[in-house]
Symmetry: none
Subunit: 412 residues, 2 copies
């Protein structure tokens, strides 16, 4: 089965936005064992869109189209469908009722342009959109099957789960999903992992990709169909032996805040955080996990020295003698927030995110991160030279790394 | 002049990487006044690549191709050129001498795979690569002119500056660079902006794109070369009249936390935030702005009811009678954090981010956002039906929106 992706919208061709939708769809289909061989992006021009439909219809079996389903003048996808399939737009009862219910839940009423969105090409059928106001369309071409989705990423992604994956499962049960394992690592750069893996010279029938990200490196092990399950297991075993100390998860999408969250739930421990330079990012990441209220009690964003003293009981003399960006202050913050929240663990971050504020003794990018529990308190320091927004990301990642290091061994 | 972009490489179609090259080229050409109307991405398959060349040659005047010029087995672009143009690869003296000089500078010698890269299609001519080892190729199609570049982003970008821009300047001196304005809006969906703009029926010589994002809609006004500066100013004036109430900035990259930050600095006001369901995201966004310590004092992430009572002095009876997700609680949180931080303004967020925790009276997605200053306190409620991470984004955006609404008019 050959699949193609068509992305519609001037904003893509003018370079206003990256075409993340096409990348998402390519990856999703590849994982399911479907080869995407062609991707097309076209402007909001009805004739060009029809031409793109016709060309894909000649080459492919499955075509996923995104964009141009909204209510404005440049949303011409449905008109192009009508031209290409020689049909007309008609009011769709299901789409209208669905949208009315959705708006009602939000206490809103339907306006004219929203009603326009419930008109669909007569020869197609509706793909319900549980995530927004524009319905999708399914229609059979001369050869290929076409799925049309709005271009809003989370709507499109939800609709792919709701409509395309069930379609593939039902109609192509023979598809073999690709087997790959992602080792999510933290605390070692790509070159160091590569050395620990002996340059991969021992590896057979397997592709390996290193994907460096802000918080660590993903090592993706892609097994070729020739390797047996036993061989695959042996290869994974080797990877775990060589770099396992840095692997916090083998689930591709799992962030370290999720790993840490699971450990805290298992160990029935609670947590409070005190943040200065990260300004709430650590709390945000911890509470991005559903169920985090089981362990995350509270946080203090003590941006001013005043707040550090008043809320966290950081001593005046500590601030005078060592300053707010110091090991002593970080430790008092972690201990202070633990006491404040009466939690098992306190974590703190204090540093200079930049681009201003550095001195000779305390360079831009310096950050102290402290951990405190009933038995011990400890502090690490780092210098992250990246711009402010990356500095905040790396600091929060280092805090989660420290937390993980401290609690992971209690599992064993 | 119509331009197209062809991107070659399995990594794009499998979704391993975002196609940043195509976006870069689209933007670069658009700025110079060249319309890119079609983008194609194809796998490393010789026949498919030839097909893509032929189709673009029929439609376009200028085709930029990236990728597949490297030395490995999957780099088949030059073979595809030979097939498409019925020519052969021949050693290119200029390419070889250039590469030898380049390697010599680095104290290296030429290896076999590097020499292979100096063989070029006989009917084409070399595009010198000052940034890497793979030469580019220029070749005339039946209709279009083709430029081939390696896929390594900084090499391709340098070569566009060296070869494409001078080519355009020399051969198309009549091209007019584009002028565009981005209106960043908040608080109105695309359909409502469109209605307020009377469906744009009054608009001439101008393209308008609506880019919906999680926090609002960007309205991009693109003037065509036919419009005079006076006409352009008049059109902007019309937009400001019709939807100006929703426009927080006319700077393309400016987020609302930056707009709000500037207002707070100008008005010499300070701010404290109390967050429940957003878990620190609002503080994180506010402190993403360099210089935010001038106005951002502190934040409390009061995830537990205990923390709401102890830190923010939310009344026990408020929690008993109305619950933590209520207007009364949100107001007490905003007032409480303002008192705690002794700031001019307090903002609070309390809601049910999901995916669990909804009840009949308080549906999943319900969120209360309150503002408090010396003179007044007020609260808005919303229902955001999106998944947890989007819910947090939209809630923080609604809080920044409320803050902006309250302080923007003091400027006038």
């Amino acid at each position: 089965m050959l699949a193609e992706i068509i992305s519609i919208g001037n904003e893509i061709l003018k370079g206003d936005i990256l075409n993340r939708n096409a990348t998402y769809l390519g990856k999703k289909l590849y994982e399911k064992g479907v080869a995407v061989t062609w991707m097309t992006s076209v402007s909001d021009d009805e004739n060009m869109i029809v031409q793109a439909f016709n060309e894909s219809d000649k080459r492919a079996d499955l075509v996923l189209v995104t964009g141009g389903l909204g209510p404005t003048h440049d949303d011409v996808t449905k008109k192009a469908i009508c031209q290409g399939w020689e049909t007309t737009l008609e009011p769709n009862v299901e789409a209208k009722e669905f949208l009315l219910r959705r708006l009602e839940k939000q206490g809103r009423t339907m306006n004219v342009s929203q009603e326009k969105q419930t008109w669909l090409p007569a020869k197609g059928s509706i793909l319900v959109n549980n995530y927004g106001t524009a319905s999708g369309v399914f229609i059979q071409g001369k050869k290929a099957r076409f799925f049309f989705f709005p271009g809003v990423p989370h709507e499109m992604q939800g609709m792919v789960e709701d409509h395309v994956l069930p379609y593939l499962k039902e109609n192509h049960p023979d598809l073999v999903p690709r087997k790959e394992t992602t080792l999510r690592t933290i605390g070692a750069p790509e070159s160091s992992l590569y050395e620990k893996l002996d340059g991969l010279s021992w590896l057979k029938n397997t592709d390996v990709a290193f994907l460096p990200k802000i918080g660590g490196v993903d090592v993706i092990i892609k097994h070729t169909p020739e390797s047996t399950p036993a061989q695959q297991e042996e290869i994974l075993h080797q990877f775990r032996q060589k770099i396992g100390l840095h692997v916090y998860s083998e689930v591709a999408e799992e962030e370290i805040e999720e790993t840490v969250g699971k450990l805290l739930v298992q160990q029935k421990k609670t947590l409070a955080v005190a943040e200065s330079c990260t300004g709430g990012l650590l709390g945000h990441r911890l509470t991005s996990i559903s169920g985090s209220s089981l362990y995350f009690q509270e946080g203090v964003i003590s941006y001013s020295n005043e707040a550090k003293k008043r809320l966290l009981e950081v001593k005046e003399e500590t601030l005078d003698k060592f300053g707010a960006v110091s090991e002593a202050c970080a430790l008092e913050m972690a201990q202070g927030v633990r006491r404040l929240g009466q939690t098992d663990i306190g974590i703190s971050i204090t540093g200079i995110a930049g681009p201003t504020g550095g001195t000779k003794e305390k360079p831009l990018g310096l950050v102290y991160i402290a951990y405190s529990d009933e038995e011990k308190s400890l502090c690490h320091s780092y210098v992250f030279l990246e711009p402010r927004h990356i500095h905040k990301q790396r600091s929060s990642q280092a805090a989660l790394h420290l937390l993980w290091e401290q609690i992971k061994d209690e599992q064993k």
